[in-house]
Symmetry: C2
Subunit: 225 residues, 2 copies
């Protein structure tokens, strides 16, 4: 099929499809002439995946590209596959770790305005990880996210340590078991990778939503007793 049919069938405007092609999110079609190319079902599928990651999950286009590249890079190496997928962190983390997105300002010299240090939180996360008995890559972006959260909470005067996160970590471990179980069926490494991506990224908003619902229910339950 050509681009207009691809557009119609995927409900993505042709201009946007061209944009995704340019950004390398969508692989080019098979060229049949100088100004003609042929697309197939895989392109429709890929487009839906892109829209899901960007639109539903809210990933930036560049983050989505990272994710998709990781999925495509899976040839036969079933081994590092999941580590690769699980190691990807949405690009928004970049602006998180560097503080609020600053554009023009030449990094004002006054670093921490309140004297709190970040290093102690790094050790706290190490303690948490080893308390759970987890084998984790040294420089996982997820580690930084937790460090950041602990640091922020502390700077806001909330007493919060890694011990407080431990019970959450236990629940996260069980969540991970569920997640991995969902991948058992898939034999084709590419399908497995795609499913891992979908269940990891697309489930994130749903899991947060479940927490909210549960909070509301728990709050109601405690108030009516």
């Amino acid at each position: 099929m050509r681009i207009s049919e691809l557009s119609r069938r995927s409900a993505v405007p042709t201009a946007t499809i061209k944009f995704y092609l340019r950004e390398g999110l969508l692989p080019p079609g098979r060229p049949t002439a100088a100004t003609q190319a042929e697309y197939d079902e895989t392109h429709i599928r890929r487009l839906r995946l892109i829209r899901a990651l960007v639109g539903v999950r809210g990933l930036s286009v560049s983050a989505a590209k990272e994710v998709l590249d990781a999925v495509s890079s899976v040839k036969t190496d079933t081994h590092g596959l999941l580590g690769l997928v699980f190691g990807i962190w949405p690009a928004s983390a970049a602006r998180e770790s560097g503080g609020p997105r600053v554009v023009g300002e030449p990094a004002r010299p006054t670093g921490e305005a309140d004297g709190t240090d970040d290093t102690s939180d790094t050790y706290a996360v190490d303690a948490l990880v080893s308390a759970m008995g987890w084998q984790i890559t040294e420089h996982s972006p997820a580690r930084q996210a937790i460090t950041q959260t602990l640091h922020t909470l502390r700077s806001l005067g909330v007493e919060y340590g890694w011990e407080d996160l431990l019970p959450y970590a236990e629940l996260a471990a069980r969540t991970a078991v569920l997640d991995l179980d969902q991948l058992e069926g898939q034999d084709d490494p590419l399908d497995k990778a795609e499913r891992a991506v979908l269940l990891t990224f697309l489930l994130e908003p749903a899991l947060l939503a479940l927490r909210r619902l549960a909070q509301e229910a728990e709050s109601a339950a405690r108030h009516t007793d």
Copy 2:
């Protein structure tokens, strides 16, 4: 203190402070003259909270305003407080529920391009909620987020129903118990509201990060067996 000291102590540029004042995120200082106002510790605290919600959690400024307004609106009404806080959904959900953010396009008539319907997923979420025995407001934004996720997964050819979310919901329920426990100490309703906001919103990235770490660990564990 005046704005320059507030800026120095909070590490937020004065221009940005002025912006937050204009947007209503930060309450105005006590005016001492036509072009002079006095700020205090509460403003520093509020600034840190804003930066945490916007910078760390990644809320939009308008979403942060909603959150902050909700916290401030708590006078003595300890009752609906938590429901109010838990019911807030980041503004990004708005663009999620409406599909990818479309700006110029006049809403192309071709609705669902692949024929899948959204209504069935709405019932699925109802089933999930009642299976958990949760008492939830009818039009909670969190419901929509889950509906959306189920719908997206289905449109991508992944067989996924509310039954698959049930075990996650059980874990979410336990998470909520932890969350609510953390609020028990606070007696002052305003402190309680602020703590609820912090632990709900700021913990979200950390919880997702914990899942990633747990996934990596679980994946490693399964592969070395």
